[in-house]
Symmetry: C2
Subunit: 198 residues, 2 copies
Amino acid sequence: MPKLYDMHPSGNCFKIRLLCNMLGVPLTLTPVDFLAGEHKRPPLTDLNPFGEIPIFVDGDLVLRDSQAILVYIARKWGGETWLPTDAARMAQVMEWLMVAENEIARGPNDARLHDKFGYKLDVELARRNAARILGLMNTHLSKHLWLALDRPTIADIACMPYIGIGHEGGVPLTPYPAVEAWIGRIKALPGFITMPAL
Amino acid sequence: MPKLYDMHPSGNCFKIRLLCNMLGVPLTLTPVDFLAGEHKRPPLTDLNPFGEIPIFVDGDLVLRDSQAILVYIARKWGGETWLPTDAARMAQVMEWLMVAENEIARGPNDARLHDKFGYKLDVELARRNAARILGLMNTHLSKHLWLALDRPTIADIACMPYIGIGHEGGVPLTPYPAVEAWIGRIKALPGFITMPAL
């Protein structure tokens, strides 16, 4: 059974638990003491030298980075549904995995790391980044039901968590009704599970 | 023939030109007047609302984000060579595409944007980020010839440019000999082309 090194309030860990639950993939959860810095010391840094969670272990394979882990799960257990392999549609999903890795990480995620976990970072910059990406997503989702294709994909799973819990970093969704409606559609999908504050 | 909205000193545009040249994909280049902000106005923002380049157009398909574009080119013209479709190896390539999108963008790329293009950003933070990712890459490349697999993939193409031109942002490679050697291996690949300062 694959194993997830997990922390309950992490949106990046949550997205792995969520996709696994939707696909019926059983998962062994190993809680990590994040506040004590367990992920920044051996033995966890032997698994992931980046000193971050989630870490996903499936047999001999050890993967870091939540977006890369979603790709693995979708390819191994999701057929063509959550990540198609044809060039155009795969690239359209990738565009939004990159938004999760970049604009969302440096926007609502950073703002929450500051407010909730006391990270020393430029929270005003994080809130400006959040406003920019939420505006772009709201415009996009005013014309599309899902981020990348005409159905849910790992693009939606990757981007949703830190958007949905952004209010914990002073980034509420009230100005972005199309984003709020999209989160509601994800919550209505079969197999959805939630996380604190979502 | 696919079209690239291009800027010559952009590492993100270069990586698209490089992979296309290696695969023998002919490309129409449309130069963008970056310093005049052409990418932040219509008609380019109609193609990419994010207001960024590169933009890649192939028939009806319009793609933004250099990593997503590499995925498209590799899937459409590269067979299984540059981006394999099996779950484990695809995810291992993805781990490093995410490093290009996150750690390298917020490290050597940001430092160069500050020094070369006058961007107002925290350049000391960018240099600390650069030192962290270069240290991690140097350790990894001391044990591996290529970033993701036992051969070059789009992981190497995605990560290399801003590492190789980091000296334009005060991030030289002298302390990272395994990274320098890896860049040398990429430069020796068939079809390699270069860019200014590389």
